[in-house]
Amino acid sequence: MSRARGPDRDQQRSAQGTGRAQPSRRERAMVEPAEFRSYYGRPIVKEPAWEQPDVPLYLFLGGAAGASASMAAMARVSDLPRLARAGTLVAAGGSLASVAALIHDLGRPERFLYMLRVFKPTSPLSVGSWILAPFSGLATVSTVSLLTGKLRPIGTLAGNAAGLLGPAMCTYTAVLLADTATPAWHEGRRELPVLFAGSAATSGAGAALLLVPTREVAPARNLGLAGAAAEVVAEHRLEHNLGVVSETYRHGRAGTLLKAGKALTAVGAGLSLLSTRSRVASVAAGAAYLAAGVCTRFGVYTAGVASSRDPKYTVVPQRERMAQHGSAVQ
């Protein structure tokens, strides 16, 4: 299929809808381009029903809040008051905004409490609600105590509990996306948790680099570097190891967003090395990390949407699987 003509027109020629899938560069030497058939080139799976920007922002804010809460808890015991304060505020602000985005996205927002009607381990959104609800509550208690100076021991306890839940906040959203029939997300189920963990770490670190004076910023710098490394590795795998589906992470708007995310992460990581000496560098690094987080989350979301719009990404991987394991249709 020629990319210039676009997949839709090419496949809508006839009901036979034979198209050609572009193999990744890694496979090109060995595998012939995959032929596939479709019903007038129409999608098989439905596009994710979530709204943009609600859900990508929910992913970004929740991740940043989770990493910040854990950092705040560690900062309290390490006697770094400014870092603890920033982390506490970001955890509460981020998670409350994340809850708001999630509720806004519901078709029936007034029924948001139905999310806590049952606990279902088979539903990552149910598990996620049971992580997000206590997390945002604890982070809010901790923040109110911090801002008012009242009930300090309870505030600290709540903040530490939020810090324990923080890492779960960073990664459950990866399962939320992967547990769908959306090809880019489901095929990326091994890589997405690592990518989201890394992206949450850099976003949390970015907020701290933006808000915390140079003498307390070192732990955020370190966390950002670790997150950036995880992100780069996971993103590379998404872009190259998922067969034909990897195309959706490399091309189109998703490709552009993810490339921008990677560049901003690199800039943030580089500038963060100067963060303990220069407040300007620290602020710039923080801004770059946060922008990177937004680009990465929107990029992953966009790749999922693109993969659901073209039947190629549903049919070709399934046909390849059938060729390996024998036919399911008799």
Binding site: G17, V45, R117, S123, D179, A201
Partner: protein, 287 residues
């Protein structure tokens, strides 16, 4: 206990859609809309009728407002493979090498999977499994989170835009409880849509496939009747005359939650990684 988790008090009910006798009349679509009060559908979403330019298909796909969808496929085949209906023609008799058109028509519907992804991922419990082993949305519980929409490997369930909640085929839960057959099966004039106990339907389908094979229609195949497939077999299954994807069906659907334990393990490990990285960041900074 059945595979879907219900005690065997009531046999599992389902559809066998034999597409080899579908004539594309769309009576199923109309009957479904009328009985279930499903709003008018148009791919533009405004309820206006659309002409899609896809043969006689102006429904397009299954969705919140289309619980039955008749697909129309026109295929070029050798003229010898087209049944001669004895219609009057004009001009010279057909040449041998001429091509004819084969029509494939198929009424698609929710598969009512044994392992249903929509039901698994629903966070509110709005989607549930009935005593007939069918999968139904409770509209008074659904909060419109939309998670079921991308979870379905067949692209069946969808959020109704002006309502906010998710809708799909109920296998006429209100009718079958009273011993009636679903509206689409009742309306089908050729018995392309057959409703009944799934075990009986599976036997009937196997016989029908053999019959077609004996008649030389070797491309006849069953889709969804195999309990060992990626969704544990479907409550609504099909006899097709070409590959599933030609009808807009996934060739090898898998319930996404089959891989969920592995996903939770990966996410747990990644979360521990975050925790370790945070702690290490502070230890590293102290030195």
């Amino acid at each position: 206990m059945s595979e879907s988790g219900y005690a065997d008090t009531q046999p599992r009910m389902g559809f066998f859609t034999d597409t080899s006798v579908c004539i594309g009349c769309k009576a199923c679509e109309v009957a479904c809309k009328e009985w279930n009060l499903v709003p008018a559908s148009g791919s533009s979403g405004d309820g206006e009728m659309d002409l899609l330019g896809l043969s006689y298909d102006n429904t397009g796909d299954l969705g919140s407002n289309s619980w039955r969808h008749v697909a129309f496929i026109e295929q070029q085949v050798p003229a010898s493979r087209v049944d001669n209906l004895g219609m009057p023609t004009i001009g010279a008799p057909d040449q041998q090498d001429e091509t004819g058109v084969r029509w494939l028509m198929s009424s698609d519907v929710c598969k009512h999977c044994t392992h249903a992804a929509c039901l698994d991922v629903c966070p509110t419990g709005a989607l549930f499994r009935t005593e007939f082993d069918t999968v139904v949305v409770q509209p008074d519980i659904c909060n419109g989170c939309g998670y079921c929409v991308p979870a379905c490997p067949y692209g069946v369930i969808e959020k109704r835009e002006d309502d906010g909640r998710a809708f799909k085929c109920t296998l006429c839960y209100d009718r079958i409880g009273d011993g009636l057959e679903p509206a689409c099966a009742k309306a089908c004039p050729t018995e392309s849509i057959q409703y009944g106990e799934l075990d009986v339907l599976r036997l009937r389908a196997a016989e029908r496939k053999q019959e077609l094979h004996a008649d030389g229609v070797t491309e006849a195949r069953l889709y969804g009747e195999n309990p060992d497939d990626g969704v544990g077999g479907t409550g609504a299954f099909f006899l097709l005359l070409d590959e599933p994807e030609v009808y807009g069906l996934p060739p090898d659907p898998v319930v996404t939650t089959r891989d969920l334990p592995g996903m939770w393990r990966r996410a747990g490990a990644a979360a521990l990684g975050v925790a370790a990285a945070v702690v290490a960041s502070f230890v590293g900074a102290r030195r």
